[in-house]
């Protein structure tokens, strides 16, 4: 048996650039040896606040793109939404500040072996890993129709990058400040009902993923969803990031998003039961009085 995450390594990286993008920040960092191994959908964890930090948990970020930049070796980019102490600290780093990185982690998106028709759906900064995915799909000759959405224009992410690598790009905002007023799933349903779609790839908030999976599965379209669960370790040892997933044997298990995911088959996740231990889950404790 191979070890889990057998490609993952821990490296000392360095900040190259921090760029604001709407409500988000794009971090470019050196990650020698790590960037080269990355596949679309994988993530990296970063330790927060330096060696004596009181923030002991690493933060996880989907990898948006990797590059080989001569003098730096491999570099990678990820998007940060500054919502807490750790992410605020991270976005205040400057060029040449050191970072402790572990990756590439998690199961990547499964790529088609043939040139098929794909729809990519990104909610908020969940569109970041779709950039690397879209590039890989285009390299394989796939059609890539991308939908990105958010509550408002400032929370849309990746418009320019995704326009460049997609066959078509649709924007949605709930408040109508950009693109079509509505949700990404409204645009997805329109495409699913009007064109031949082979695979749907999605990354974003859980309610969006649940709808994407539901609409795709209802039309017998294969979907792959990258979830965002709160993680303490990111490497499969802490058991905090679990969600109920149905296996090939029909049994529901509480699987770890970090090593069994973050990409799951949309038709296998019990979306409405996320956050609970549903009845029938393997090893659910029988209530004792």
């Amino acid at each position: 048996m191979a070890p889990m995450n057998s490609g993952a390594i821990q490296v000392k990286g360095e900040v190259l650039d921090v760029q604001r993008a709407g409500k988000y920040f794009v971090m470019s960092v050196t990650a020698p040896g790590l960037a080269e191994l990355t596949q679309p959908g994988q993530f990296v964890t970063v330790s927060m606040g330096g060696e004596e930090s009181s923030m002991i948990l690493r933060r996880s970020f989907a990898i948006q793109r990797v590059q080989s930049r001569g003098m730096y070796g491999g570099t990678l980019e990820f998007v940060v939404s500054p919502v807490g102490k750790g992410t605020h600290w991270l976005t205040k780093l400057r060029r040449h500040d050191p970072l402790d990185l572990v990756g590439p982690l998690g199961k990547p998106f499964s790529l088609p072996t043939k040139a098929v028709s794909c729809v990519l759906v990104g909610g908020g900064y969940g569109s970041a890993p779709l950039i690397m995915l879209a590039e890989s799909l285009r390299d394989r000759g796939c059609r890539v129709d991308t939908i990105i959405g958010a509550s408002t224009e400032m929370k849309l992410y990746g418009e320019l990058e995704l326009k460049r690598v997609s066959t078509s790009l649709t924007l949605t905002t709930e408040d109508g400040t950009a693109g079509i007023q509505g949700r990404t799933t409204d645009a997805l349903v329109t495409i699913l009902d009007s064109a031949q779609v082979d695979v749907v790839y999605a990354c974003g908030p859980m309610p969006m993923l649940a709808s994407v999976a539901e609409e795709s599965t209802a039309r017998k379209v294969f979907s792959q969803c990258s979830v965002e669960e709160s993680m303490a370790c990111g490497i499969g040892v802490c058991m905090t990031c679990v969600l109920p997933v149905i296996g090939d044997d029909g049994v529901t298990r509480m699987l770890r998003s970090c090593v069994d995911g973050p990409v799951f088959r949309g038709d296998r996740v019990r979306w409405s039961d996320v956050g609970t231990i549903p009845d029938g889950a393997l090893g659910k404790e029988v209530a004792r009085s």
Partner: protein, 351 residues
């Protein structure tokens, strides 16, 4: 309890290539180095093998395993706290049979020293898990996680009651190979941890693992509800280290010969040294693995440097060294009382 060592200001200059004896005897458990992983922070070793050679540390203490597969609690299961975290996993695991077939087999094939942590909802369940492990073999010791709620006693935690703790340990001892050392993992959430340590030692534990997490709670001020689905959780990480050092110190003072595996917030070799000086014969690294997956190996290297720079040539010389000029008359007298009390009557063990 420890041989005299002359520590001088000049000893910091000891050359790195001089020999250093890092072996430790934790009772009958002989380890090449004193650094272990802490239960629940290393799964069964496989996930960490990417980040350091898991056979190069003292051993892997596996996540507590129960008799049957177990889904654990709902999410959210964790919350970050200052220099620590709360967790409420609920002992998710595949059950002892799958553990033996997959995890233990892998550890054995990999050549890692293995301490299997076991858990149960009743003394009987602990005994059944131990019995299955005895048949399987292929491990070096058992750590008994008695910080579980006793389903037969209104969820009272075994580790918080000297008699219940002793009953679990005696049941595990009876169901285990005599050559396999048993360590009782103690909770700090007790009035007198020495009383519990004496009780489990009397019941057949070969040593104690000190400490498990402290019970804590966080309220999410956005939702204005408990942050964890399980409401309360175990506090771990550097925030609890002084509590662990205190518990190790108290047990070592009262029970000078009881093997102790120390744990609780160890983040550096310096932290590990503190526990060793307080009386730990080995040190487990837990939550720090979440911060730094290669922490056990790094801490092992740092501990060696910390010891060398203080003039120690053997790890064992440093164990309990902080006790060297301390008069423990009072504490030892107290512990004798406990031991005598524990001797009195064993009728409560009904099997």
């Amino acid at each position: 309890m420890t041989g005299a060592v002359i520590v001088t200001g000049k000893s910091a200059g000891v050359a790195d290539d001089s020999s250093f004896d890092f072996t430790t005897n934790v009772g009958s458990l002989e380890l090449n180095t004193p650094i272990l992983t802490a239960s629940g922070c290393a799964a069964a070793g496989r996930e960490l093998d990417n980040y350091f050679d898991i056979t190069a540390i003292g051993g892997i203490v596996t996540k507590s395993i129960m008799l049957a597969p177990r889904s654990g609690r709902a999410t959210p299961r964790m919350a970050e706290t200052p220099s620590g975290m709360l967790n409420s996993i609920g002992l998710q695991g595949p059950g002892v049979e799958s553990f033996i077939e997959n995890d233990l087999a892998w550890l054995q094939q990999r050549g890692a020293r293995t301490i299997v942590s076991i858990a149960g909802g009743s003394a009987d369940e602990f005994g059944k898990v131990a019995a299955k492990l005895r048949v399987a073999g292929g491990f070096d010791a058992i750590e008994v996680n008695i910080s579980c709620p006793n389903v037969e006693d209104r969820g009272q935690v075994f580790a918080c009651n000297a008699e219940a703790a002793a009953q679990v340990i005696q049941t595990v001892r009876r169901n285990s190979d005599n050559r396999i050392p048993i360590f009782a993992k103690l909770s700090p959430d007790v009035t007198d941890i020495v009383e519990i340590a004496a009780s489990v030692a009397q019941a057949g534990a070969n040593g104690v693992s000190v400490i498990n997490t402290l019970l804590g709670m966080v309220i999410d001020t956005n939702s204005m509800r408990p942050a964890l689905a399980g409401v309360t959780g175990g506090l771990s990480g550097p925030a609890i280290r002084p509590v662990a050092v205190r518990c190790i110190w108290q047990i070592r003072s009262a029970l000078p010969d009881l093997p102790i595996i120390g744990m609780g917030g160890v983040r550096s070799g310096h932290d590990a040294l503190e526990m060793v000086l307080a009386g730990a014969n080995a040190v487990s690294v837990g939550t720090s693995i979440f911060n730094d997956p290669s922490a056990p190996m790094r801490i092992q290297n740092e501990l060696e440097q910390e010891l060398r720079s203080r003039g120690f040539s053997k790890f064992s010389q440093a164990v309990s060294y902080a006790h060297r000029d301390v008069d423990h008359t009072f504490q030892i007298a107290a512990s004798t009382d406990v031991a005598n009390h524990a001797d009195e009557d064993w009728d409560f063990i009904s099997e």
